[in-house]
């Protein structure tokens, strides 16, 4: 039932930090806080995991372990992807 959203970024990335709050709010409104598992992945601490997801650019966003965005989406693009998710 839960949806795991991971934002893969480098610490200190200002554009990532400012956009994350907005995207998290979009995710919470679409999925509800109860279904949302939000994780911020430090690419340097979890490099192997980032590589296994296919991350080549940052910030990247994976939904349920699948890379969905290789750069920051607009809130509308993000919302559209979340709305298309199969119920789990």
């Amino acid at each position: 039932m839960t949806v795991k959203i991971e934002v893969i970024a480098a610490p200190g990335c200002k554009k990532c930090a400012s956009a994350q709050d907005e995207l998290r709010a979009v995710a919470a409104s679409v999925l509800g806080e109860g279904r949302l598992v939000w994780r911020e992945v430090n690419v340097l601490e979890e490099l192997d995991y980032a590589v296994s997801l296919g991350v080549l650019a940052m910030p990247a966003i994976a939904v349920n372990g699948e890379l969905k965005f290789s750069s920051l989406p607009t809130p509308e693009q993000f919302r559209a992807v979340l709305l298309r998710l199969e119920p789990r």
Partner: protein
Amino acid sequence: MYTIGKIAALADVSADTLRYYEKEGLITPASKTAAGYRLYNDEAVRRIRFIKHAQHCGFSLSDVKELLTLKHAESACCADVRSLAIEKKLRIEHKLKALQVMSRALDDLIRSCEGGEQATGDCPILAALENSLRVVSR
């Protein structure tokens, strides 16, 4: 000021490489002689060394161009440069992973064949590659 031959020797690159860098917009001669020969200054020497060092770390010439742009952009900060370096590392790690997969596939092929003098028609490596081709073309 240095002629192209002198700066090439100083920076340990060829004159052709310098002309290519110029074509790619990475360096520009400070001036030209009356006869049209390129003349370079110390800044060009520093820039060529920067390019070579960056290439040594895996950056392509187009990455170097981006790095140089960041270097001179007022709005850019160190985090932007660091992100480029991390993204380069991610690409290298991807390539390493792909090479490891290739290496393991070769291990399987090598294990399947004992070598020897039998005809290549009986070679398990060639047979395995033929079979995988058939699977791919299906």
